[in-house]
Subunit: 273 residues, 2 copies
């Protein structure tokens, strides 16, 4: 990494190899192979910067970085040794999503953490998601976990990709703030076996109201997939089963909603204005 | 309406006028012109039936209604005088969404209610949404309102279409259970002026924790658009401003999450296991 800011490279061709490589990150397969992902918009780039993440590549549209926040982001990226590409509006249109056009995007390295390992502080709350399917739900959950100060999110089994564009957008930048951990169901079951605090599941058949329960820390909240809910095996791992009361005919809430209600209840004592 | 069940009509052509007309309901313009919408899947059709809604048209894939729930739905639709179309898998593939294939769908008349009018019971909670943009958020909010027993949802100004496929799917059937009301901002402001209970807004600058507040009924919760939040004019209409506490750097939650937390807090006393 040089201390001398390099110059942006200018690209106008839609068939440029760098353009094609970035565009290919729309595909989960390519994200998996490269370990990279795309975050769109200055707001997400600022959150990345504030959390110590440097893009491998910063792409911006010609004429949109002459001043202000965008100029600062380009200066920062160049200083940190990132590849910086200036592209035409046409090229950016190919790279960015259609329904939420931005003039800037960053390519970042995906980050997965270890853990939870060692002795956990009893003030900690962890969340485990089993085979979550909807990237919008996952991104929203990541954002909510950031808002309540969850220590980390464990993705069990075949979850959707937290680094898909839809998920990243829904996180509103929290992707750079909340540790993500991947685990097989077997590995998770082994880890849960020695868990010191409560392992909490929402369950239609539970007889305890989630608002009435007291939760022993460190808490581990486990939530199932959108349709089927928790697998039998994982459900058995819960030491506390609670129910979110509902009016009328309903027996379920959207996964991100149920997760948020549960987490706000559990993290409540830690959250102050 | 005859008491004699009619026979399903069989369609195999992709260019059939009925097929094209149903497919056109993907477009907001056509939904607006016709006042119709599409609900996909047996689960939504059952909820419609249980709430007294009859489809104008029921479409099912050949060979999928020989027994069970699907057969019962076809018998019901024929008895109620609905147009019933049996279509090939290829035709259904054109009509149904790609990412969540179903073998049955219904075309229903959109329903918008009046109100809130007259003397409201103090146990009631109403929700007003100003220019909500994301149909997934709107559908999820409708589902949550059903879960907490909200009296009705007022859509102020230019909201996204609650009858779009994405919204309908996110409601999981609650579209048939929660009254929707459309109002201009002016009409809403006139209605709010005489509101007897609390008019509640979440506000970053509020000094009262949303969990500590007591809410006088009938409550009216007002929530703003995904990015900008409440307009100044609507914000001024609130009689109670509360804040949802957040950890870390965050200053906002997903709209559907913030709405759910607020509604569960307010409706809490009415919700029992």
């Amino acid at each position: 990494m040089s201390n001398l800011p390099r110059e942006p490279k200018i690209i106008t061709s839609l068939t440029n190899d760098r353009v094609k490589a970035i565009r290919a990150l729309e595909m989960r397969k390519v994200r998996k192979e490269t370990g990279l992902f795309v975050a769109e918009g200055a707001s997400l780039l600022i959150t990345a910067r504030d959390n110590g993440f440097v893009p491998r590549t910063l792409v911006y549209q010609t004429g949109t970085v002459d001043s202000g926040i965008n100029k600062g982001l380009v200066t920062w990226a160049l200083k940190e040794g990132a590849e910086v590409l200036e592209v035409s509006a046409q090229v950016l249109g190919k790279l960015a999503s259609k329904d939420n056009p931005q003039t800037m995007l960053g390519v970042f390295r995906q980050s997965f953490a270890d853990g939870p390992t060692g002795a956990l502080h009893e003030d900690q709350t962890w969340l485990a998601l089993e085979e979550v399917r909807d990237p919008g739900n996952l991104g929203t959950i990541i954002r909510t976990c950031d808002a309540v100060g969850v220590a980390g999110i464990i993705l069990i089994g075949n979850c959707c990709d937290p680094y898909s564009l839809e998920s990243i957008r829904a996180t509103m930048g929290s992707i750079f703030c909340v540790p993500l951990i991947r685990m097989s169901l077997d590995a998770f079951m082994a880890r849960v076996a020695g868990w010191l605090g409560d392992v909490i599941a929402t369950d239609l058949k539970a007889t305890e109201d989630f608002r009435a329960a007291r939760y022993r820390g460190p808490q581990l909240v486990i939530m199932g997939s959108e349709g089927p809910g928790l697998s039998e095996r994982l459900s058995q791992a819960a030491t506390r089963r609670v129910k979110i009361p509902m009016a009328g005919r309903l027996d379920s809430l959207n996964l991100a909603i149920a997760t948020a209600l549960t987490l706000y209840q559990i993290r409540g004592p830690h959250l102050k204005l």
